[in-house]
Symmetry: C2
Subunit: 338 residues, 2 copies
């Protein structure tokens, strides 16, 4: 068994990489929510100055990554590997966003778990001795998602209360081998879990068992209790999914509250913003991490966070063929100390 492997699904990094820079850009609705002050830039233009929503999403990716690079004190040409992906078919949000940036790219697809997946791989590339500086980026966009996955936006389709609202946002992180932190210390990589749910308007319920399995494995592998973290945050389970995760742990005699939260519940006010079960999309956990969470860690509000991105790996074709929704969750420990 390799030295860094701990337990069944986790690794402890030998030289935890430092988060040297992070930035996030969001749309107008996100900029009206409860964590609006944590975003680097809020755009009132859903096309971000471009002539289509998709090109706007790519522009958002480009700007988030440039901002994060600027804050890291590194030059663009120093980034040795970029991990990026998004929800658009063939991940065009990322590809077109980083097209002119001249950085070696590993394209990834983890649905809404993409930031956690990219962060895992970007950290392992440094800890494995392959690079000194790496980056992870992802995005989602309400209008590009809505028309790709559901209905034309103009149609104004009704949504059930279990549905989540795709966040318009992009988050980017720059990691370096040395630095003052926060550090990526441990990683638990998820397996596909499919509880058999077929309702694409209830992805929280579909993803909850994957989140439970990865969190449970993380605690077991590393002999940790939830209270060892100042905050445990799931990707975007929303109201339905996060209550299922809390229930599952309660059955095991484990109480995740009060230091548990979900990015899908943090980014919007469900009372004031009519988002039904909460936020979702790759940009949801990415922009909450790259704004509210990492800012909070730097301010000393939390010293140790478990960031558990969740993804529902369905497509319109799989739903039309009456398939259930396979889901995944990747967990990353972020700590102010090595």
């Amino acid at each position: 068994m390799s030295l860094k492997h701990v337990g069944k699904q986790s690794v402890a990094l030998a030289n935890p990489p430092s988060i040297a820079g992070h930035a996030c850009i969001v749309g107008e609705k996100e900029g009206q929510g409860p964590i609006k002050d944590s975003f680097d830039y809020v755009s009132s233009d859903m096309r971000f100055g471009q002539n289509s929503w998709e090109k706007g999403e790519s522009e958002m990716v480009r700007r988030a990554l440039e901002l994060a690079i600027g804050k890291s004190g590194k030059q663009q040409e120093e980034i040795e590997y970029l991990f990026g992906g998004d929800l658009l078919n063939q991940c065009i949000g990322t590809t077109f966003g980083v097209r002119d940036m001249n950085i070696p790219l590993f394209g990834i697809y983890g649905a809404c778990s993409t930031m956690a997946e990219g962060l895992s791989l970007a950290a392992m590339m440094i800890d494995g001795g392959f690079a000194d500086t790496t980056a992870a980026v992802t995005s989602s966009h309400f209008c590009t998602s809505e028309r790709q996955y559901r209905f034309p936006v103009e149609y104004g389709g009704q949504r059930p209360l279990t549905a989540q609202w795709t966040v318009t946002g992009s988050g980017a992180v720059i990691l370096t081998s040395e630095g003052p932190g926060p550090y990526i210390t441990h990683i638990t990589t998820g397996k596909i879990v499919d509880p058999g749910i077929k309702d694409a308007n209830n992805m929280g319920a579909a993803m909850a068992p994957a989140a439970y399995e990865t969190l449970r494995m993380h605690f077991a592998d590393l002999s940790l209790r939830p209270s060892d973290y100042d905050l445990i945050v799931t990707g975007d389970l929303g109201q339905v999914g996060s209550s299922i995760v809390l229930d599952f742990f309660k059955r095991d005699g484990i109480e995740l509250m009060p230091n548990y939260d979900d990015c899908g519940l943090m980014i919007f006010s469900r009372e004031k913003q009519d988002v039904h079960a909460g936020g979702s999309g790759c940009g949801c956990s990415a922009s909450v991490l790259c704004g509210y969470l990492l800012n909070g860690m730097r301010a000393g509000r939390w010293n140790k966070i478990l960031f558990a991105g969740t993804g529902a790996m369905l497509s319109t074709t799989s739903s039309q063929q009456k398939e259930s929704i396979p889901s995944i969750c990747h967990a990353v420990s972020i700590s102010n100390t090595r």
Copy 2:
């Protein structure tokens, strides 16, 4: 600069992982081509026993991975990380194919470069000390691609002579930290290159500059000449793209022939099989690698191969929005000796 980094875009693995198992499964047309004897299984049923082409593609992935695991002498539960992705929207070929296999999954998207990307990351995970056993898998399917990217298959649309034929095939590789080889020794990770070509029926031309850039960088970084390899093989440039790559090198005064070939030209007979410019799709380079190439290395026909997977990162949406085709190429050195 990290120790394993060589030149600008390459790494030399400290303890090159061994390819412990490899397998490929293809469709009927591939099974009638010039390298038909190298495939592990040829199916005359394009649905692979399932009730849709997409479910058939997932079944192909599952079987290729199971076969490769079987040949590796490892158990399924010993695989610590799987890297997989495909051409279908949201990579459902992979996700549904490996859904029940209980292996930690990093979903990747590199279009037709996916096998080279997965092989790169699977090797780095072992060399970085995170795992002893990893895997990479990918697939493509003529019918699922055709109806997703182009027209209903039944429509029988005409194709220009620059178009390539999507391979129905899946390839899987199992890597281990120790073993008799062949070994993954060096990796050059590609950047996006976009020559501005907008014709989705001429992806060879769109991808050729990316292949040229990665190969050129590989030779420069590692101070190698093309003749240092017994075979240099690009992913699936087909007739148009591979002749462009040869031309580009000729302008630099470098002759890649006679030890250059392209998976898109190897898998079909252009004379007898009416595939126009050649084969393409993630399953093209994957099944050529996992059959013909690795079998040939084991038989001693070649001792050192440079496998350069190429991908065109377009989507139907990006084409409809009149965007050009960003492309990428990842190169992996495979050698019978460490």
